[in-house]
Subunit: 272 residues, 2 copies
């Protein structure tokens, strides 16, 4: 299991090389998923024994294999933590991989899913990529800067000011994310305070937060690989991302991301 | 307001011409929306007096104007019923237009929205088009056949067999669609009976139902222009669409669409 450790020092040059590599390999992995998208593939059920439902397609596994192989070839000293194939220890720099974030959306033929890839330095993800291969979109960042690319369209990502929670567009993948009781009640309070609430989105809604069209994302039960790639994109676009108690989001759990720092403060008070 | 009247007889040749025209004009209208998509446009609030929130962008109005102008030029004798500019009476054949179905998704930069265009013959919509311009996708049908087109990809749409509701993927735009009380309770019963429930989607989820990746769609509070374009697509793909009481869906309200007719029967019993 991925955990915190002393931060590995990385030069700016290395960081640029890691991000460039990550964008390229997310593209390759994404391309491989399209061969399975909207195909009637066999769906395996990882959680069948526990009664849950977590579809895993061949696409998911194939994409993670592509990413792992590329990392092993280029950065054999690095660790890898992937949704499908678990943790391989390394030198303290660990690639954190969700080959298809939003597998239920993928299975349903919908569009809000993506390939997620981050590099964790022991303390925080220092670069991150979210790639939607069907629309050929890339969202990526290093915590200082974040960018969007689609074909010839290429621009910086920047969150928008919102001013106050009552003017905010709130997004979450779905109400079933929240544990019944206090957690669900806290989300409902947040939703009542926001201008409107959109469900559906998985990783894609964080891309829209970074682009300045969603103001608040609140989710729960997230794994490190669900959130790490998004952290350097959100921060690079000027946004804020923490847990619901305001702590570091790298290990997942209940996550709050906002464009406007004032709204983050308001939302933390409501969730706390 | 759109209402039922005696069905206007239409030849097969006319029907083909209407569908071809509708696909072309949905494409033009869609193209016009992209100039506004992910732009920080001024959002007007149609329902500000009633306290509701129904964002209308310039994109929405511009797209409807394009469609109305094209219809007036090509079929001046036809009626038009549009979300933005209301009803113009005609010869009994009425074009039913939602220039952007899923305006909240559009405003949030998300992908599940589309241009909807149908032709109502007084009794039912005889052709329908759903177009997503950002992804360049067209879903269209005439009640007997339905097709999908994206660039060079072009194939028939066909729902999938599901067998039983407990194996079904259920989709709805969001839980806020349902009136508190009986309607919400009925949806919750349906959701508990399904394998999983996906929120988010607007018109796009019906495209995925027609393509065989979603089994059940259940929504409420729909207007004629929200559903009419989708009816000939769903039926053309082999699916079933009615109200929650099993009656004709053309006037909207609470809508149930399914791929598998057995599942439709099961779902009607649960909702009834």
């Amino acid at each position: 299991m991925l955990g915190y450790s002393e931060a590995v020092a990385v030069t700016d040059e290395d960081r640029r090389a890691f991000l460039e590599f990550a964008v390229a390999i997310a593209g390759e992995a994404g391309e491989s998923t399209l061969g399975f998208f909207r195909q009637a593939v066999q769906v395996e059920n990882k959680l069948i024994d526990s009664g849950g439902f977590d579809p895993v397609t061949e696409a998911d596994r194939g994409a993670e294999r592509i990413i792992r192989k590329a990392i092993a070839a280029r950065f054999p000293e690095h660790g890898i933590c992937g949704e499908e194939y678990g943790l391989k220890e390394g030198n303290g720099l660990t690639w954190v991989v969700d080959p298809i974030d939003g597998t239920r959306a993928f299975m349903s033929g919908m569009l809000h899913w993506g390939v997620l890839l981050a590099l964790f330095d022991g303390q925080e993800p220092i670069i991150g990529v979210m790639h939607q291969p069907f629309t050929n979109e890339y969202f990526y960042g290093d915590g200082n800067v974040a960018k969007y690319r689609r074909g010839n369209v290429h621009h910086a990502l920047r969150v928008r000011a919102c001013g106050s929670l009552d003017a905010a567009v709130l997004a979450a993948t779905g109400p079933q994310l929240f544990a019944p009781g206090d957690q669900r009640a806290a989300f409902d309070r947040l939703s009542e305070s926001a201008l409107l609430t959109r469900f559906g989105g998985d990783c894609y809604l964080y891309g829209m937060l970074a682009m300045g069209f969603v103001d608040v994302a609140a989710e729960a039960g997230m794994n490190p690989y669900d959130i790490q790639a998004l952290v350097p994109i959100i921060r690079g676009a000027g946004g804020t991302v923490t847990t619901w108690t305001g702590s570091d989001p790298s290990m997942g759990g209940a996550i709050l991301a906002t464009g406007d720092p004032l709204v983050h403060k308001q939302a933390l008070e409501i969730l706390g």
